[in-house]
């Protein structure tokens, strides 16, 4: 600053007499202004802020309040107000201190004084309403709050705030009234819908609640699921199913029904387990939207995700029937075929899918169909050669341009190579895939496959590096858990000099991949017997347990998990093994006591862990004589 000032002076000297005079005037003004400012009370206050007694008292009062010493806080605030009656901070501090100390009577006196002086102090009104509400004077509270709203009638937040306060004090009716009033005043029919659903549900006014759910669903299409969920909650809370059905019928049959309203009604019909009514609603919605079956696809998807597979398949096929030759129809046929393996017909699924692919060779849906077919060949049919052939088809024609499908096909290709024991091909394909620009999930999976192949090839160091890269790249992706467990086994085996058990573990994996379960079992048993304390042992046994379960040998699985329980100490393995045992025993039927013992062991023998809650719930259900679900 000094140099700048000097620079100005120097320029001034070089300049004309007038400019020198101008500079002098500016400087004089600056000096005068600075002097005046420096001597003003404002500056003085700033500089002596630290020793301002009021500030000190305010700070002390706040601290006292935080530390729970309300008496001291009240004393300090009062002393400030005696000195400075207009000190706002002290006033509201005192209000807070009174309300914290539960001195609502004193608070009311204070607020009355305030309102006498400032009749339009909305904040004071809100506080006064709260004080009355705390004292149980809900009528008075509501009146005061209405007055507070009247101070800002056009502000939507004002209704929101008061409504929330009334909900908090369980003044649900009043709250609903406030929200409705707000909706009317503001003139937006969708406003406060979610809050009203809450209020009406608590009040047991389910009809109104359902109506508000409809409002919400129509207002925001994305909230159909939320609204449906609310209906389920109402039913849980005791809403009469029949009435609910009637109200939803009204919605569905209303000539003014919107597609969103119909979709909501359809969803609720599904909750009410009335798929036909649901279908009707969705069909009508479909007609109204004119989007070529999209609403029907939604219906089918809901059915599928809800576990109604056959109905879902029918619904998908209905889409194809109603809108033939459309993309939606092709997609629906793919989805319909995808359901077949779960219904026990994977070959039928492959045939249907290939038919779709042949019918729509240039469409994306055709590619999706081939991909789904290849997946079924790998996962359900364990036919890697066939899968490789199907994947090869993906690279023909326009499908090759669909990167996502091609990348998904590449992942299946790797799986197929692994099943065929062609580790080098699998590694090379994964590496090749990583050279392309892919979605994160595809990338993560390819990276995992790299590490996994290295593990199978017994290159421990490389495997750890590749798996680590995968985990660090996207820790939220699939296979990360598996990668981490594998890394831990490899690292600990290396550290503990347990190469042999690690090799056996890799061999077991290879055998399992190629479908040679006997060899896999042998290798795992070798580990369990010869390398009992090795890091690979618990993982190997858990793998064996899973294999037995897959093979449909519950007894075998129970035995394996029992070995785990006997031989292992780690909480995770013990908890999972006991959980699996409990689940198998419970599913077996007639062995609920054994299952209960297993679940109880998770709770009693192990410290609180990630399966404790689940074990407790299952235990309760079994003890109540119910069956396990989910």
């Amino acid at each position: 600053m000094t140099s700048a000032f000097l620079g100005m002076s120097a320029r001034g000297k070089r300049g004309s007499g007038r400019s020198r005079r101008g500079l002098a005037v500016v400087l004089a003004i600056t000096i005068v202004v600075t002097t005046v400012l420096a001597s003003t009370p404002l500056a003085a206050r700033r500089t002596s802020a630290e020793i301002d007694p009021t500030e000190l008292d305010l700070n002390a009062a706040r601290q006292a309040l935080v530390l729970g010493d309300t008496d001291e806080a009240i004393r300090l605030y009062q002393s400030i107000l005696e000195r400075e009656p207009e000190n706002t901070a002290a006033f509201w501090g005192l209000v807070r201190a009174y309300s914290t100390a539960g001195m609502d009577r004193e608070l009311l006196v204070l607020l009355e004084q305030r309102l006498a002086e400032r009749p339009h102090d909305r904040r004071a009104m809100v506080e006064m309403g709260s004080a009355y509400a705390r004292l149980g004077e809900f009528g008075l509270a509501h009146e005061i709050w209405l007055l507070a709203i009247a101070e800002a009638p056009d502000d939507p937040d004002s209704y929101y705030e008061i409504g929330a306060l009334e909900l908090r004090h369980r003044m649900y009716e009043d709250a609903a009234g406030i929200y409705l009033k707000g909706r009317m005043v503001i003139g937006h029919p969708g406003l406060y819908g979610q809050e009203l659903v809450q209020a009406y549900t608590v009040l047991g006014e389910y009809e109104k609640a359902v109506a508000e759910c409809l409002v919400v669903a129509e207002e925001r299409g994305g909230l159909v699921q939320w609204a449906t969920n609310r209906i389920e909650l109402m039913l849980d809370a005791g809403a009469p199913r029949r009435d609910v059905r009637r109200w939803v019928d009204d919605i569905a049959e209303s000539p003014d029904a919107s597609p969103a309203g119909l979709a909501f009604a359809g969803s609720v019909f599904l909750v009410l387990e009335e798929p036909d009514r649901a279908l009707e609603a969705f069909l009508r919605a479909d007609e109204l939207t004119g989007e070529g079956g999209r609403e029907l696809v939604r219906f089918a998807t809901i059915l599928r995700d809800g576990g109604d597979l056959e109905e879902a398949r029918e619904a998908f096929l209905m889409v194809a029937e109603r809108h033939p030759e459309s993309e939606t129809a092709a997609a629906a046929r793919v989805e319909a075929a995808r359901i077949l393996p779960a219904l026990g017909d994977p070959r039928g699924a492959v045939a249907e899918l290939k038919a779709v692919a042949n019918e729509f060779p240039a469409w994306r849906e055709g590619g999706e169909a081939l991909l789904a077919a290849a997946r079924i060949e790998v996962v359900n049919l364990r036919a890697p050669e066939a899968a490789l052939g199907t994947i090869e088809e993906l690279s023909i024609g326009t499908r090759a341009r669909l990167h996502q499908i091609r990348h998904a096909g590449a992942l299946l290709e790797i799986d197929a190579y692994l099943m065929l024991g062609r580790l080098d091909d699998a590694y090379a394909r994964a590496a090749l895939l990583l050279e392309e620009r892919t979605k994160d999930e595809v990338r993560a999976q390819a990276m995992f496959q790299l590490g996994y192949v290295s593990f199978l090839k017994l290159d421990a160091r490389k495997a750890i590096e590749e798996l680590r890269a995968m985990v660090e790249g996207d820790p939220g992706s699939r296979f990360v858990n598996e990668a981490l467990r594998l890394m831990l086994v490899i690292a600990e085996s290396e550290e503990g000099g347990e190469q042999e058990s690690l090799e056996l573990f890799a061999a077991a994996h290879s055998a399992k991949l190629s479908g040679d379960t006997i060899t896999a079992r042998d290798r795992i048993n070798e580990i369990a017997s010869g390398h009992a304390g090795s890091p690979a042992a618990p993982e190997a046994l858990m793998l064996l347990g899973a294999m037995e379960e897959e093979a449909g040998d519950p007894e075998g699985a129970l035995e394996v998990y029992a070995r785990v329980v006997e031989s292992e100490e780690a909480i995770r393995v013990l908890a999972v093994a006991r959980m699996r045992r409990g689940d198998i025993l419970a599913e077996e039927g007639g062995r609920n006591d054994d299952a209960i013992a297993e679940y109880a062991a998770i709770l009693e023998d192990l410290p609180p862990n990630f399966l404790s809650g689940e074990a407790r719930r299952k235990l309760d259900r079994l003890r109540r004589g119910g069956e396990l679900e989910g």
Binding site: R96, W226, S267, G307, V471, P607, F610
Partner: protein
């Protein structure tokens, strides 16, 4: 009268008037023409006469001619024009010539008027009248008298002006003008002339070379000129010079003919013969000769320097014809002079004192000698055979260069220090002198004692080195310093000056303090206690505050709106949080100071220091930037009245606070742990220290000391007993503290304490003291030895407690981390299931939603449980970074959010949160894996760690062997030697041999490491001696004692490893507590700078600078030094600068 007549009359009048004017003008012009030459002739005459005095004939002719010309000119050119008659026609013609516009009408008018009406041929009257009228009309306005051509008149006027100026110029003739005027007035008078005589002094003369020759001339008779000196140096051309008046000093002018005038001229610095004469006008004096003669002078001067022998300087000769001498005091100077001519005598004349005659060496060569004692001046006086001396001889200086005081500095340590554990005090002394150091010693005294000790460091004799750096290790045990005492020491250096006597200089004084172990222990321990108390308070406050935030958050969950009241509440809590953060920051500073203090102590282990630094780091990290940002975020959200943002920020705040609290708690626990460890280490050290001192006393007791020594030993024993009692008390406290952090180690310590009690060590020490008092050292000796052994046993036990504690902690940390990783993998696996369940699902059945929400809530709880379990272990650990717990909190937060979202809006709502939770939990596993890997024993570890482990192992083996030997000795005493015991002894020898081999291997592999230098070799030697002892005496007490020493050595080596490689730069100690008031105090900086200057000076003086520069160099350095001292405003705390 007609108009024409009137016109004619007018014209005539005007013409006549013009004629008169012309006549006057012509006369005036004529006068100019006459007067100008006449005056010019007179002026010329005067000038010539004044200058040359014109002969009378010339004067007469000139003046006569001039007068005639004047008369004739006046008649012709003045009188005649005036007398001339006026002719109107002629005048008219002239007027017309001046005014051509008149044509000839004026002349015609004048002429024709006369003829008007007269001619027969008709000069018409009318015509003439008309002419006249016309002429009158034309001439109206014309001045007939005006003359256009006046150029000639002006020229004459100009000539007259020049002449007048010339006349005025005659004044320049000065005095000559008067006689000339006189002669003008009397032109016929005759001027007479007189003869001029010149008398010259000194005439022919002789003078000394270089003297001035003053010549005077007295002139009588008239003369027009001044006196002129003409002189001619031998072999040169003659020259002239005007002489000056002897009276006025001015150049002589024309003399008054009647008077006599004196003239003078001076020829300066005459060095060769010359001839001269004086002339005045035409008169010239005779020519005289001045002959020059010369004084004797010194043409050559040689100085032979012979320096004092001790200086080591070589003799030298300076043959530069310069008598100035600069030499070291005591130097003998030989002086040889050569004169310009044969001399009668020569001598040295000093400024003060007797002259020193020189001895003749030849006709013109003389020689003498002198001793340089002090600075002085002298000159050389010589006299030639003519009796002429060397006039004003040159003065020479003698500068006696003094031998500087030597300089000595204690380079290392160069500050106050404490007594090292091994009593070996390394010293580096630097001494410097211009001609050599002969002696270097350390002088010391113990405060409170009158006697002074001397530690000789170097005795170099007469030809000592000029610069000496002496490194030495001072065995302080020889000084007799006792714990709690202070030793003052300085270095003393003596130079080799044999001329003026050896000079002694001293370095600054420094202190060596021998603090008692208990003192150091209580100092650090006290600070640590204070820190622990402060931190406990902070933790409590933070817990309260966290609860406060939880309540607020709870309120916000049930009612997200932020009213003013809530705002106030939040603001107050935020302010409190800020204050707490500040307090934590202050505590971190305190911790840092404590670490520094500890690092300055030689008794703190490297591990402890590292841990203390780690704690400081933790405290620094506690006050996270994130917390500050969150506080700001909450404030901003409140300002923007955004309940959602406030709620989110508060949620984050809760996690951050958890993390904060965990960090604080961890710091507190670690501090407690470090303190307990430090206490343990300290007591072990003190036990070892006491054991060593007790053993020394035992050795002294074995040397049959005299009565006085017994008294001293009794006092020392009393001191040892006191310290041992204190040690026992402190051990009890340390056990109590340790029991709070490590029960197992506390139990081991308790066992060691009980063993100590059972050994009756304190009683033995008391007995020894009594025996010393009674002057029975023979009885005291075994007691001392036994007490020493007991102390060594205590030390051994406590050291193994230390080692075990560290190992168990590391193992526990690692296991806890691995357990947490394993459980987190379970969580991750379950979370994956949740993600799979909610992804891409259009609808999830109600029952499944309930299950998912429950699962997510379970997982969130299990995160908390895992964190809690890990924290229980890691809060005493340095391995797990507390920031990990924050990651736990964040995972938990996302899981709770996911659960809430799924419960509220179905699967689609919680998808993002569930996936985020999965990513975070996996990330957490990775970071824990990384941390665990870097701490795992197989992750490399340093070679030093390996060495530590091997030493630990060896120490354990030796300890077991020691126990076996003791047991064997008892059995031997009970049963005597039998084959079984013999076998046992052989086995034990074998074990000792294996330990020896291992020790040799380690010594070979690691022995050259700085951290352990020498210790392993010593251990090997000890084991070898023990083996020899075993061979000789079997399992004797001697063997047992030796084995204990081996164990002690092994433990010592371990401790060295822990302590010595701590590379942190130690801060210099202030030493204020021990400062003494020094009489000649200087600021440290000034003292140092002055010393450096003196060093520079001494070094500069040692170089081969020309002697004349040496004094300049000295003056330069002394000037600098003086400046520095005068610039120093305040005196320093101590320091003596010699001399």
């Amino acid at each position: 009268m007609t108009q024409a007549e009137r016109g004619h009359h007018e014209l005539m009048r005007r013409i006549a008037s013009a004629g008169r004017r012309w006549r006057r003008r012509a006369a005036a012009h004529g006068l100019l023409r006459v007067l100008t030459p006449a005056i010019a002739a007179v002026v010329l005459y005067l000038a010539l006469d004044a200058l040359f005095v014109l002969p009378r004939g010339v004067r007469i002719v000139w003046l006569t001619g001039t007068a005639m010309f004047l008369l004739a000119g006046l008649a012709v050119l003045v009188v005649r024009p005036l007398m001339r008659k006026l002719d109107p026609v002629g005048i008219a013609a002239r007027i017309e010539a001046e005014h051509p516009e008149l044509g000839e009408r004026l002349e015609a008018s004048a002429e024709l008027w006369e003829k008007r009406g007269r001619g027969k041929h008709g000069y018409s009257v009318e015509l003439i009248d008309a002419l006249i009228e016309k002429t009158v009309a034309d001439a109206a306005g014309i001045d007939f008298g005006a003359v256009r051509g006046t150029a000639r008149a002006r020229r004459w006027a100009l000539a007259l002006g020049i002449v007048v100026v010339g006349a005025l110029g005659l004044a320049g003739l000065g005095s000559r003008l008067g006689p000339a005027l006189g002669r003008l007035a009397r032109p016929f008078a005759v001027v007479e002339t007189q003869a001029v005589t010149i008398t010259v002094e000194p005439g022919d003369t002789t003078l000394l070379s270089g003297d001035d020759l003053i010549i005077t001339a007295t002139v009588t008779g008239p003369s027009g000129d001044g006196a002129v000196l003409t002189y001619e140096y031998e072999g040169e051309i003659p020259r002239e010079r005007a002489m000056t008046s002897d009276v006025t000093g001015e150049r002589t002018a024309v003399p008054d003919p009647s008077s006599e005038s004196a003239h003078r001229a001076t020829l300066g610095d005459v060095r060769t013969d010359l001839r001269y004469s004086v002339s005045v006008g035409e008169t010239e004096s005779p020519t005289y000769t001045a002959t020059v003669i010369e004084r004797p002078f010194v043409t050559g001067l040689r100085l032979d320097y012979e320096f004092p022998a001790y200086s080591g300087l070589l003799a030298r000769t300076v043959d530069e014809n310069n008598g100035d001498v600069t030499a070291l005091t005591g130097t003998r100077i030989g002086l040889t002079l050569t004169a310009s001519k044969p001399l009668e005598s020569a001598r040295l004349v000093f400024e003060s004192g007797e002259p020193l005659p020189l001895e003749r060496e030849g006709a013109s060569v003389f020689r003498g000698g002198m001793l340089v004692v002090e600075s002085a001046t002298y000159s050389i006086e010589i006299t030639d055979t003519d009796g002429l001396s060397n006039g004003d001889p040159a003065t020479y200086s003698i500068v006696a260069v003094r031998d500087e005081y030597p300089l000595v500095r204690i380079v290392e340590p160069g500050e106050d220090r404490e007594v090292p554990r091994d009593m070996s005090f390394p010293l580096v002394i630097s001494a410097l002198d211009d001609y050599g150091v002969s002696d270097l010693t350390i002088r010391y005294s113990i405060e409170g004692l009158a006697t002074e000790g001397v530690l000789p460091l170097a005795n170099l004799g007469r030809r000592g080195e000029r610069e000496l750096v002496k490194e030495a290790v001072w065995d302080l045990s020889e000084t007799g310093i006792l714990p709690g005492a202070v030793l003052v020491y300085f270095a003393e250096v003596t130079d080799n000056d044999r001329v003026s006597g050896p000079k002694i200089s001293r370095s600054e004084s420094y202190l060596i303090r021998f603090p008692s172990m208990a003192e150091l222990y209580s100092e650090v321990s006290g600070d640590q206690d204070e820190m622990v108390d402060d931190l406990e308070e902070l933790v409590d406050e933070q817990e309260d505050l966290r609860e406060e935030f939880e309540e607020i958050q709870e309120e916000l969950r049930s009612d997200p709106s932020v009213d003013w009241q809530k705002e106030e509440e939040i603001e107050a809590a935020l302010e409190r949080q800020e204050e707490l953060a500040e307090e934590v920051g202050e505590m971190a500073d305190k911790m840092s100071e404590l670490t520094d203090k500890m690092s300055e102590s030689d008794r703190v282990t490297l591990e402890t220091l590292e841990k203390t630094e780690e704690i400081t780091k933790l405290l620094d990290e506690v006050a996270t930037e994130e917390m500050r940002e969150l506080i700001e975020q909450i404030r901003e959200a409140m300002e923007q009245i955004s309940p959602e943002q406030v709620s989110q920020a508060m949620e984050q705040m809760e996690i951050t606070q958890d993390d904060y609290l965990r960090r604080l708690e961890q710091t507190l626990n670690l501090l407690k742990r470090v303190k307990a460890e430090q206490d343990l280490a300290d007591i072990a050290n003190r036990a070892e220290d006491l054991a060593e001192r007790q053993e020394r006393l035992a050795e002294e007791a074995g040397q049959s000391p005299g009565g006085q020594q017994c008294e001293r030993m009794s006092e020392e024993q009393a001191e040892l007993s006191k310290e041992a009692e204190q040690l026992r008390e402190d051990l009890e406290k340390a056990i109590e503290e340790m029991s709070q952090v490590d029960r197992q180690t506390a139990e081991q310590m308790q066992e060691a304490a009980e063993e100590m009690d059972m050994s009756g060590m304190l009683e033995k020490m008391e007995q020894a003291r009594s025996s010393f008092m009674e002057k029975k050292p023979g009885e005291a000796g075994p007691m001392c030895q036994s007490a020493s052994n007991d102390l060594l046993t205590l030390f051994t036990s406590l050291s193994s407690c230390q080692g075990g504690m560290a190992c168990s902690l590391e193992q526990r940390d690692r296991e806890a981390t691995l357990r947490a990783i394993d459980e987190l993998l379970g969580v991750s696996s379950e979370q994956e299931k949740v993600v799979d369940a909610v992804e891409d699902r259009a609808r999830i059945p109600r029952s499944e939603i309930v299950e998912l929400v429950a699962k997510e809530t379970d997982l969130a709880e299990s995160m908390s449980a895992i964190a809690e379990r890990m924290f229980v272990v890691s809060k005493e650990s340095f391995v797990i970074d507390p920031s990990v717990y924050r990651a736990f909190g964040i995972v938990e937060m996302f899981m709770i959010r996911a659960a809430a979202q799924i419960a509220d809006g179905g699967a689609s709502a919680g998808r993002r949160e569930a996936r985020e939770a999965l990513g975070r939990v996996n990330g957490l596993i990775v970071s824990l894996l990384t941390a665990n890997q870097s701490n795992s024993p197989s992750s490399g570890g340093s070679s030093m760690q390996q060495l530590m482990q091997q030493l630990q192992q060896m120490a354990e083996q030796q300890s077991q062997l020691n126990d076996s030997t003791e047991e064997l000795r008892q059995r031997l005493e009970e049963m005597g030697m039998n084959p079984q015991l013999q076998r046992q002894l052989a086995e034990m020898k074998g074990q000792q041999q294996r330990i020896l081999e291992e020790a040799r291997r380690l010594a070979e592999e690691f022995g050259n490491r700085d951290e352990i230098l020498g210790r392993l070799d010593d251990t090997v030697e000890q084991i070898e001696n023990t083996l020899a002892e075993m061979e000789r005496t079997g399992a004797s007490q001697e063997t047992i004692d030796r084995q204990r020493r081996i164990l002690s050595r092994l433990l010592d080596a371990q401790r060295s490893l822990r302590r010595r490689d701590y590379t942190r730069e130690r801060r210099s100690r202030s030493g204020d507590a021990y400062a003494r008031t020094a009489p000649r105090a200087l600021g440290d900086d000034v003292t140092r700078a002055t010393q450096e200057l003196r060093e520079d000076l001494l070094r500069a003086m040692q170089r081969d600078y020309p002697s004349e520069y040496r004094e300049l160099i000295r003056a330069y350095f002394e000037g600098l030094s003086a400046d520095m001292l005068s610039d120093e405003p305040a005196p320093g705390r101590r320091g003596e600068v010699a001399p």
